[in-house]
């Protein structure tokens, strides 16, 4: 799967949880999920579970701890698919 496809899917999964629509409109690989998109930390659990379902992968908490940006998500998922 191409990184661009993964990014597109990542943004699609994140979208319902985003509280800053302006930040979402200019989302990039550098966009911080908690600080820029204002995704609530409890909802981040749901996001990670949705990633697992969408890409048929398992993501450990230790991996989640390394994820801050959309680009981090894309890199992590790329390593696992």
């Amino acid at each position: 799967m191409e990184a661009s496809e993964i990014q597109e899917q990542v943004v699609k999964i994140l979208t319902p949880y985003v509280k800053d629509q302006q930040a979402l409109a200019k989302v990039s690989l550098e966009t911080n999920i908690l600080e820029d998109l204002k995704v609530n930390s409890a909802r981040l659990v749901d996001v990670v579970l949705a990633f697992e379902d969408a890409f048929d992968i398992e993501i450990a908490d230790d991996d989640v701890d390394e994820v801050n940006t959309v680009g981090d998500c894309v890199r992590l998922i790329s390593e696992k698919v």
Binding site: K19, S41, D46, D61, D65
Partner: protein, 208 residues
Amino acid sequence: MIGNDLVDLGDPELAPERRHPRFDRRVFSRREREVLGASGAPDRLRWIFWAAKEAAYKVARKIDPRTVFSPSRFEVDVDATLKGCVHHGGDRFELRVDEAGGRIHALASEMTLHEADLLWRVAPFEGDAQTASKAVRALARRELAAALDLPVEELEIDRVDRIPVPATCHGELDVDLSLSHHGGFIAFACDLREGASAWRQNHGVEGP
């Protein structure tokens, strides 16, 4: 060290139908899931557990920046008075939960929590997610400045490795602070124990 966390129970995002079916298995230990299963108010208890885990994580990370937020590894034990503890590995964090007005506020510390040493506030907040961070800092500055008898304009809250650090023009204030916001509420908690006393002594300021 102190950590706090806040949950606005009125946030529509917390509705059970919005939660992923594997959320509980991912976040809670087997024992916590059993307690939730036996509870008459599992949704309320679920978010008490969550706030407690987040608050304890904030303390753990101050002690060891390598700490990973793996929610199920922060195991919460809380009694009917909403006091208890959070266990993480071999560490134990004292826990105090305050529930009022549709929100839950958790305080955790690796030491015994004494009311006289604590400064904490929860306030309603009407802005959006973009301005909550600024609002909680303003609340903490105002209350901390009053407690330490400092002009509020001299007090800043810096951020070092995602940890809020109060400072004045004289340098960092050795006061331990934790900030949180969620939905319609903002909250801060401050441990005034040693740091503030030392600062007051150094600067000839009388305590509150």
